[in-house]
């Protein structure tokens, strides 16, 4: 079988968002709130309930609390 890119957004999340080099240096703009982007996107892929089932994050996760989930 030949490799293909058929995973769409899920694969993008697994690569560009979750991986790639993370710079631990003081020369970068602080991106402390960036994980929110990941959460929004992941929420777009699956319902929050499913996400909780999968253990992607916990109900009392501070990042979830900071989000208005109803609007996603």
């Amino acid at each position: 079988m030949r490799p293909v890119r058929d995973g769409g957004l899920v694969d993008l999340l697994d690569t560009a968002l979750d991986k790639g080099i993370l710079l631990n240096a003081d020369i970068i703009i602080t991106v402390a709130e960036v994980p929110l982007i990941g959460i929004c996107l992941r929420a777009a892929l699956a319902s929050i309930e499913t996400m909780l089932d999968y253990g992607v994050f916990q109900e009392d996760d501070p990042m979830i609390k900071g989000l208005n989930i109803k609007n996603i």
């Binding site: 690569t15 790639g20 020369i27 703009i29």
Partner: protein, 250 residues
């Protein structure tokens, strides 16, 4: 002015990749000591939004630039989304200080790409096969002779037994496949989560990121095809820039 950093590549020339960046920004290279940083001029703040379409487009653009750079330069060190360097002096100084590491890393990644290998088991099919299992057949025979309450308990025992057998079998297969896939390149485990929609009802038993040499990709595909024909479903996704194998740089 800040710089949104997509990736690093081996090149000493000034390149312009055109307006292919996030929000159609012009992507160009800043070269230091034979290493080029592919960047766009950015504001000094991260890209953030709750608009999923917008974020999706950003991510697609991020990936698109890395793909374009891979095509042009061969090998790149990809950075994670939203890596923004404060200023030109900072960027150049950082590149000067790390030139040796970048060269070494690019050397290690040369002629290789990352692939995602996911293997799924058809749990329903396996359950059906389990119905012929001696232990289960015996339990079922016994169950038919018992009273309702007791039969219910035996059914629960059967369900648990099947579940445990599926776990044991999937682990056994996962270990076997993992060992064999390792012969094609460097392999890293990923969590067993987030399958694409069309695989949602299947049981993922293995999720690997593999750094495979270009000349070994065909052989790996051939091996995966054999697994695919043997009652499993295999996803072979790629090629990707080596997102999982570029490590952490200080």
């Amino acid at each position: 002015m800040a710089f949104y950093l997509y990736c690093l590549a081996k090149s000493n020339e000034d390149s312009n990749l055109g307006e292919i960046g996030i929000e159609k920004n012009k992507v160009y290279s800043i070269a230091v000591n034979g290493i080029s940083a592919l960047v766009h001029n950015s504001e000094e703040k991260p890209y953030q939004s709750e608009d999923k379409e917008k974020i999706e487009n950003w991510l697609l653009s991020h990936q698109f630039v890395i793909d374009a750079a891979t095509k042009k330069f061969g090998t790149v060190i990809p950075f994670t989304f939203d890596t923004i360097i404060k200023g030109e002096n900072e960027l150049k100084k950082w590149m000067e200080e790390n030139t040796k590491e970048f060269r070494e890393l690019l050397g290690k990644l040369e002629n290789k790409a990352e692939y995602l290998v996911q293997i799924y088991m058809d749990a329903e099919l396996f359950k059906k096969q389990m119905e012929k299992d001696e232990e289960i057949v015996k339990l079922k025979e016994g169950m038919n002779k018992k009273q309702k309450g007791l039969a219910f308990m035996i059914q629960q025992k059967i369900d648990m037994l099947i579940k445990n057998k599926i776990e044991t079998e999937s682990e056994k297969y996962a270990n076997k496949f993992h060992e064999e896939i390792k012969s094609f390149g460097i392999v890293k485990y990923n969590d067993l989560k987030n399958p694409p929609e069309k695989y949602k009802d299947k049981k993922m038993i293995l999720n690997l990121s593999c750094l495979i040499e270009n000349k070994k990709v065909e052989g790996c595909g051939y091996y995966l095809e054999k697994i695919n024909r043997g009652g499993f479903l295999v996803r072979f996704s790629g090629p990707w820039a080596p997102f999982s194998f570029a490590g952490e740089i200080k």
